[in-house]
Symmetry: C2
Subunit: 325 residues, 2 copies
């Protein structure tokens, strides 16, 4: 394949820091910048190339024709895009923010000349900051790459190349499909964990003394930093509302059935089958197919791949090798 | 302390099998019986003493003046109690069923002459049957022992001795307190896991392909055998309804806040504090106190111990050593 581009990472927390580590480990020329003096000092102490500030990092990106990766929390995205619009308005741009429609909207509004392909690596820990970052955070994780009909092929190739270089596999989806999915499997779990933790603690010390695996597992993500969870969930408001309404409907139906007939068979059986669907999909045999990213129906083929749970596992020029079950 | 009694375990699934293994490992004379030919064969193959049937096991219990432990699922409790009423109506009796009020009611109705103290070891796995049982299942687990004002002291001592011999610690509570607590920290987690799994699977293969730790953890117990979960949850109908209503109220409030102001701060912060309360209680320094099980206010002292999250960790005659934070 073509030589990889240089990489400019804006934001050096857990995710941005891990991308910078993984890219450098894969042989890329990469540098970063962050507003956090702590993260900057930690990254420099670990031997990484950290620019004096965001503007300097962007000037270097323009000179080197680097891929620019936005790795700041959603509330900081607009401010960074305004700097990009000023210093390097035609940047080849991607991001790792946990919601995609709001970022896409901001990019179209604030940096309309940027060549943008959205991304979201689905990995994390309950810790944060550069000190929590690792080069292996994305190994075997899905990395969503957004696919539109008018996508820039060169940027799409570069973003896929970066994701694969970190050890992730690539799941193509539209921004709206991504947001609907993460509302269900990432943001709703945080809301339910918070609700479950509160209902348990309401029972007092005896109740918490009896908590075993089901409660500990079900509330684990309530340990995450609340301000990060809040920003992530609130940023996906519309899709999360759909997921919460679905959960309220199902929980209300369980309540009604328990109160009237005393029966919970349907709730529990449907939940059991759903969980088995997850396990089946994870262990299913996969067949390999090739997708030419340069063909005119590539966007459609990529969206269809993602919709049936498939993934890109390697890329050679414009030829992607995909696995689908 | 006094010599331990013999032990007769009725039901040799995961819990009954693990009690039989742990009791034998602790030097007790113990035998079991089960309607499952598979569990009976597996237990015999592992070198355990399995009676030909329930009736034979109960005849031996009467002759040996053994403690009888009921380890069958709730729907099978009445049938077994009727055999006890016929063969050994004055048995010293305990159980390991996951709800306490319904068992207590059945015991009073079907075996009014039995000397009964309820129990519930809070341990389990998502597998079941004798083949899943281990002698160490109850290590460091809470084992609830029910405490009433008219409790039989000798049986209370024996049940506490058995629980401690398996490596568990003993949490005293009334049957109603137990059922309210497990509704919140054991049964509600199963309902929420089922709801979350269904909402995720509704999103289709793309959604499941993006599932990471928060969804996998939050749906783990939906892998459990649905008929066991159903029996457990339905058996605790009244207390579970309270817990589900509390969850519905909190989830509905989160929904309303997200829809109106877009804010989730309260839901997420309260959940975070609640989860920290669990961690704090688990790591709190404990002080030791002594409780004389033979004193006239022992029941009150035991219930107060359980209510503030305390536990019995050893027993010498009628003197229990308890830890409280």
């Amino acid at each position: 394949m073509d030589p990889v581009p240089d990489l400019c990472v804006l934001g050096l927390g857990l995710i941005g820091g891990s991308v910078l580590r993984a890219a450098k480990a894969a042989g890329w020329t990469a540098w970063g910048a962050t507003k956090s003096t702590q993260d900057a000092a930690d990254a420099r102490a670990d031997g990484f190339d950290v620019a004096a500030d965001l503007d300097e990092a962007l000037h270097r990106a323009r000179q080197a024709d680097a891929l620019v990766l936005l790795a700041v929390p959603l509330p900081a995205v607009d401010e960074v895009l305004r700097r990009i619009a000023t210093i390097h308005p035609t940047a080849r741009l991607t991001d790792v923010v946990s919601v995609k429609t709001p970022v896409e909207t901001s990019v179209h509004r604030l940096t309309p000349d940027a060549r943008y392909v959205g991304g979201h690596p689905m990995a994390g820990t309950s810790t944060s900051g550069w000190s929590a970052s690792t080069a292996t955070l994305f190994h075997n994780a899905p990395w969503v790459v957004t696919v539109d009909d008018d996508q820039d092929l060169a940027v799409l190739q570069e973003v896929i190349t970066l994701a694969l270089a970190t050890g992730a596999h690539v799941v193509p989806a539209t921004a709206a499909e991504h947001d609907a999915a993460v509302g269900r499997i990432s943001h709703l779990p945080h809301i339910l964990a918070a609700v479950l933790a509160a209902v348990g603690a309401d029972g007092g010390p005896l109740t918490l003394a009896l908590a075993a695996g089901s409660f500990t597992d079900g509330t684990r993500v309530a340990s995450s930093r609340p301000e990060l969870v809040q920003a992530m969930c609130e940023g996906n408001r519309s899709a999360l509302l759909d997921a919460v309404d679905d959960a309220l409907g199902r929980l209300g139906a369980a309540r009604g059935s328990l109160a009237s007939t005393g029966g919970l068979a349907k709730t529990i059986e449907v939940g059991h089958e759903a969980r088995q669907a997850l396990d089946s999909q994870r262990t299913a045999e996969r067949t390999e197919i090739a997708i030419d990213l340069g063909s005119k129906d590539a966007a459609e083929a990529l969206r269809a791949l993602g919709a049936r749970g498939g993934r890109i596992v390697s890329l050679d020029g414009t030829t992607a090798t995909a696995q689908t079950s």
